[in-house]
Each structure stands twice: as structure tokens, then as C-alpha cells.
Symmetry: C2
DNA sequence: GGACGCCGAATTGTAAGACAATTATAATCG
DNA sequence: CGATTATAATTGTCTTACAATTCGGCGTCC
């Protein structure tokens, strides 16, 4: 159990403070100086906490205006996470399992809401259309994530959607090496899924979506096999030191 | 475009630095002092950046060892999702939906793993036994959360478990007013669920668990009806400290 | 009387220096 | 050779100070 630093404690206290006061995005917080006094730490420690939270958009700071509560945006989070993907490896199998649980778990509600509100289908359709028009890989990657996030968000279960945003960000790197023929397959799969949902058949849609996500699992196995045979050839890899 | 603060610039430079050097988790970074000199800023600015990245687990810092590239963990990121939860204040219905999706979503894997490893059943059983011996409400509350967390953790999908831990915490306040007769029912429900899982019948277990969680939904409707007629003042009782 | 600009004060942003806390490495002793 | 202690390097925290930014009011000019 790692000991928490003061700035982390301050961050935690800020959270409970926000909860206690029932603060909503936009509400003002005490100034750094007041927080320092209230928490019994120096302004530096408070700053390290608020600054870190500021990176994530959780708090907003400006001179003279002071601190205020921001809105946590997964976009913001993913900005700082993005460069880390190349380095960190979360086990793909578990990520896929997670995706399947979260995405398929919302499907019944998506179908229900779709029946009441046709615009949900239209939105999903629009994203998939945009995906068809994508030419650059970056466009496609973004659209792919957007589709799956919108799908879960369409369930109306916002907590689930927030978590899913995060998972998608983690997953992004595995999508990177997809060939163009796979794109087309994926887009067809999306269309099948939302069309099936519109008919109210969420069970078939669940099977389709599960298959759609499981494609990555097969791909990963191939990659690993390749890596193994390559590794067998040269087995003396030591990572370089970091100092300049 | 908002002007970037120096610490944000430092964070960005750290990114290009890491990418250029091709660093992997565990690799060492220059010290705060060296970075400050290299980037032409004070150590304070460097610290604000590394601290923020440290919150996310992207960098790891320890005295004498210095800075190193860290491994991003779902658990770590869940801490920031908790801010999201705190600020968003989701209605109970959505939390229940979330719980159902996450907890039932893991059941198939729990059953599979249980077949291979009987100790999983034993552990769940032990927690439920402890629950039977509980006398104080606080004991029961803790045990209840422990059971549901262990259940999801038993699926072996760690990201899902991390998220579930979070949901349980936010759900806890709704459990507070349960009567003792409900306890007994809940414990019987737990037993049924794990016994059914041991038989490998995860589908029946899914139905049982869904029902078990849905009990809270009914209760909430009653409470709301009462609250409407009373139209009482709101009580915001949340106390907490930084958990380790 | 109203719009415009300017000035001052409050607050965050950045800096430098010092010391405490922690821990990896080296030195020492049995 | 192993365990223990000493040392040094590095982060963690505090204090103080000042620069940068911006909000609010005040005065001036039309």
C-alpha cells in the first residue's frame, strides 16, 4: 500500500469537499491560499493537486477568478494517456472481455430507447456514414471509437458510457494495424448491428457485436505468433538507458 | 485556443522525450533538476507536470530512485472516474443498470473459472458466511460490498473489477436503510447465486443476480413516494477520507 | 449621461532556496 | 560472506518573493 503524498491527499479532500457541498461544474472553489490553510498544508502542495486536476479538466483555474469546478472529460484524459499507449500494455484479452461486457450489456436498453426515439438510430447511422467516407486511417480510427462510444451512450446509462470512453481509449492502439479490407467488414458489421437493434432484436445484435469485437482477439493471436518466431531468432534485447 | 501553462508544456515535452527515446514502462527518466535545466524552467513547473502525470500513473517517482515511466492501471484511472461520478450525481436507476450490466456480465467467466478452481467458490462462500454472522449494520454493509466486489473480481477481468469497486462505493449510500429481514433474503440470494454458478448454470445465476440487484429499485420508488409527501429538507451527509 | 479606457487589487503562475524524508548504494563490521 | 550502518542522491514540502493575468471600479472624455 503506497503512502499517499500530500498533494494526493489534497486531491482526495477536494473531492470529498466537492461532494459534501454538492458542487456542480462551474461552481467556485476556495482560493489556493484558503485551501492551503484549511487543509493545513502549504500552497505548493495545494497547487500540485489543483494543477494535476486541472490537467484533467476537473478544476478550472484562472488568475483573479480563482478555482472552479470543471467537467471531467474523457477527451482531456485521453490526451495525456495517448502518448502512453505505445508503451503500456494492458492484457488485450481482458480489454476485449471488458468491451464485450460493457458494450453488449447496454444493447437491450439501446433497442428500447431506439423504439421510442428514432433519432438514436439516425445518429448512429450518421456516424457510420462518416466512417464510410473516411480515407485517412486517422479519420477511420476516430470514427470507429466514436461509433462504439455513441452506441454505449445510446443506452442512456451514463456511468457505463463514461467507463466505456476510457476503455476505448485504452483499446485504441490495438486498432492501429487494421487493413483497409477489415474496415469495410467492420462498417458492414456496424450497419447490421444497428439495423438489428432497430428491429428490437437485441439478442441477435448482442451476438453480432460480440463477434465484431472478438475479431481483435484473433488478430492479436496472429501478431503474437509472429512475434514469437521473430524473438526466437534474436534473443539479446536490452533496453537502452535513459540518461543524457 | 487556450494558452498552455509551462507545466503543460513540460508534460508535452516529456512526451516527445519519451517517444524519441522509445522508453518503456520502468525505464528511467532524468531527475527533476535535470529536466528543469534542460527545459529552461524552474523545478516547480517540472514538478507540477510530473506530479500530474504521476496521478495518472504515467510516471512513477520515488526519492533517490528518481522518475521513471510507469504503467497505467485501470485502478488508477478509476480514481478520476470517481470524480466524474461525484460531480455527475447519477440517479439511482442508472447506477442499478450499471451494476446489473457489470456484475452479470462477468458471471459466465466466473462459472468457467469456478469449474477449474474450486477455491473461488470457497472464497465467495466464506464471505457470505461472514455476512451471516454480522450483527452490526456496518459489518453487514461492508460484507455486502465485499461479496459483490469479489464476485466480479472472480471473473478475472480486472478492468471490470476496478470499475465495479467504484460503482459499489457510490452505491453504498442507497443500501443504508435496509431492514434486517431484507438482509436474510439478500444472503439467501447470494447463496443461491454462487451455488448455481458452481453448477455451471450462469444463465440462471444471471437472472437471480439481476433480481437481487433490482430489489433496490423497488425500494427507491417507495422512498421517493414517501419523500414527495413529506417534501422534507435534503440531508447531505457524506463523510470520507482518502482511502488507500 | 453613457461609453471607453485606465488603474489597482486579488489570484494564479513561476521562481529560487532551503530543509526534511526516503531510499539505493557503498562502506564497515562481525 | 552476510548483515548492518553510513552516505549520498533525489523526491517531498515549505517559505518567500515576484511576475502575469484579469476582474471591478473609477474617472475622463465625448
Amino acid at each position: 500500500m503506497p503512502k499517499l503524498s500530500k498533494s494526493e491527499i489534497v486531491a482526495a479532500k477536494l473531492r470529498t469537499y466537492s461532494i459534501n457541498k454538492g458542487l456542480k461544474p462551474g461552481d467556485r472553489l476556495p482560493t489556493e491560499g484558503e485551501l492551503a490553510e484549511q487543509f493545513g498544508v502549504s500552497r505548493v502542495s495545494v497547487r500540485e493537486a489543483t494543477k494535476a486536476l486541472g490537467f484533467l479538466g476537473i478544476v478550472d483555474a484562472a488568475p483573479r477568478r480563482g478555482l472552479s469546478v470543471g467537467k471531467v472529460s474523457m477527451k482531456r484524459l485521453s490526451r495525456y494517456l495517448s502518448f502512453h499507449f505505445a508503451l503500456a500494455d494492458y492484457p488485450l484479452d481482458e480489454l476485449i472481455d471488458t468491451r464485450i461486457v460493457v458494450e453488449t450489456g447496454g444493447l437491450r436498453r439501446v433497442a428500447e430507447r431506439m423504439a421510442k426515439d428514432p433519432s438514436i438510430y439516425e445518429q448512429l447511422n450518421a456516424v457510420n456514414d462518416k466512417l464510410r467516407r473516411a480515407t485517412k486511417k486517422s479519420e477511420w480510427l476516430q470514427g470507429e471509437v466514436e461509433f462504439h462510444c455513441l452506441l454505449v451512450a445510446s443506452s442512456g446509462v451514463r456511468a457505463l458510457a463514461a467507463f466505456n470512453d476510457l476503455v476505448q481509449v485504452f483499446f485504441q492502439k490495438f486498432r492501429a494495424g487494421f487493413s483497409k479490407s477489415r474496415w469495410k467488414n467492420g462498417i458492414r458489421g456496424h450497419q447490421e448491428i444497428i439495423d438489428t437493434l432497430r428491429k428490437g432484436d437485441y439478442q441477435t445484435a448482442t451476438a453480432l457485436l460480440t463477434e465484431h469485437i472478438n475479431v481483435h482477439r484473433d488478430r492479436d493471436k496472429l501478431l503474437k505468433k509472429k512475434a514469437r518466431s521473430k524473438n526466437a531468432a534474436k534473443s539479446g534485447e536490452v533496453s537502452g538507458s535513459a540518461s543524457a
